[in-house]
């Protein structure tokens, strides 16, 4: 399948089209909303479904050296990418060092929804991927926060006291990480047999729930962009598109070295290309309060997330296919 075919198939998929409906509604200032508890439930469902299915796959194939290598590569990516992002931002934007460090932290971590979207796209294309990529996603959430704090440290006044002790507990016990890893463990224990018993809920309903969730994400991304537009300078807008491509390229090289499948490579590339808008903002509001939260949120949610969903994911799948297909 060519890149054009993949892009067309992706753009015409119900998930992406519902996301576009959400974006349109937000830009048109429609009163369409998905109630917050519903959005939370959908997020919980998607993470549980991905985690459970990944766990069942790991139970089927067993733990391998490749699994450990891929998790190691994910952690390395999450640690290293903020340094790349920070260097680019300091050279190309007028952000303060603390704001640049905060943005860099967002781009080192991952977006669980983008992860859900790439798994949805791969399932639609019947491209298998390593089930343990769920654990890789969870492992990539937090190292970037440490890098961001290290980047910001020399440029800070005395940090606010009283928050530090809580930050790490909350970061490591972050709801999405617990849900993802908890479902992974449940899937590993119950295995393919357990998955068969809940298949109608966790597998068959997944695409429909993903459509509904992406409709909400379209609304949130569009409204976030409307609210934070003033922070989005040309250089930051370009960064929000270029940085995912840099992250995906580094991930592609690592995936090739590890020997991941085409699906696994596409997932690792997407994880590296995605930017956090839940776990990292929450941690940085506590650990780096001087940073303006609207700047990275507008970039990651308003630009990088739609870019990955509309164009990035088919591109990463095409590149993954190209580098893993023997010539």
């Amino acid at each position: 399948m060519t890149l054009t075919d993949l892009a067309a198939q992706n753009l015409l998929s119900p998930m992406v089209l519902f996301f576009a409906v959400g974006l349109f509604a937000a830009f048109a200032k429609s009163d369409l909303t998905v109630p917050e508890p519903v959005a939370k439930l959908l997020s919980l469902y998607l993470l549980m479904s991905i985690g459970f299915r990944g766990g069942a796959e790991v139970a089927h194939h067993g733990l391998t050296v490749q699994l450990a290598g891929t998790i190691g590569a994910g952690i390395l990516l999450s640690f290293a990418m903020p340094f790349v992002a920070y260097t680019i931002l300091k050279r190309t934007s007028r952000l303060s060092a603390v704001d640049a460090a905060a943005v860099a932290g967002h781009y080192g971590s991952i977006s669980a929804v983008t992860f859900a979207a790439v798994t949805g796209a791969l399932n639609q294309l019947s491209v298998p991927f390593e089930g343990y990529m769920v654990a890789v996603a969870a492992a990539m959430e937090t190292p970037a926060i440490i890098s961001a704090l290290n980047l910001a440290r020399p440029h800070r006044d005395q940090p606010a006291s009283g928050n530090g002790n809580h930050v790490w507990r909350e970061v490591l016990l972050n709801g999405s990480v617990i849900t993802l890893l908890g479902a992974l463990v449940v899937g590993m224990i119950s295995g393919p047999k357990g998955l068969a018993t809940v298949k109608p809920f966790f597998v068959d309903l997944f695409p429909g729930f993903l459509c509904l969730f992406l409709l909400d994400m379209g609304l949130v991304a569009g409204r976030g962009l409307n609210q934070g537009r003033k922070y989005l300078t040309a250089s930051l807008g370009i960064f929000a598109v270029i940085m995912p491509l840099i992250g995906a390229s580094i991930a592609a090289a690592l995936a090739f070295a590890i020997g991941l499948s085409a699906g696994g490579t596409a997932v690792l590339m997407t994880l590296a290309a995605s930017a956090s808008y839940i776990a990292v903002p929450a941690a940085l509001r506590l650990a780096l309060p001087e940073a303006n939260p609207a700047i990275p949120l507008t970039m990651s949610l308003g630009v990088t997330f739609p870019f990955n969903l509309l164009l990035g994911i088919p591109l990463y799948i095409a590149v993954a296919n190209a580098i893993t297909t023997p010539h």
């Binding site: 928050n163 809580h166 976030g224 609210q227 939260p293």
Partner: protein
């Protein structure tokens, strides 16, 4: 009816800080407080709305507590240890209560 003077402390804080603040209230001996969600507002950074947020990070909450005048400094010291650099607002005002033993 006889009333008694007390101090009311109003905080508008970032939602992720809520638990830290209430823990600080406990430490300062605050006997009770109320937490209210904030729907929308406008501050130094412009307008915002809770509806457009993807998580609690961009959301704000209001906390109201009523304390004895002698406790105000202790409460504010505890609170400021947490919110010194955060977005938000702190006000202290005079109020009258009818059941002083509760504060």
């Amino acid at each position: 009816m006889q009333t008694h003077p007390k101090k009311r402390i109003d905080l508008i804080i970032e939602m992720p800080l809520l638990r830290r603040i209430t823990e600080r209230f406990d430490k300062a001996g605050v006997s009770g407080y109320s937490v209210l969600p904030i729907v929308a507002g406008r501050g130094q950074s412009g307008e915002w709305s809770a509806g457009g947020q993807v998580s609690e990070v961009g959301q704000m909450a209001a906390i109201i507590c009523i304390v004895d005048a002698g406790k105000v400094d202790a409460v504010l010291e505890e609170v400021f240890a947490v919110i010194r650099k955060q977005i938000g607002l702190v006000t202290v005002s005079d109020v009258s209560v009818v059941r002083p033993e509760r504060f």
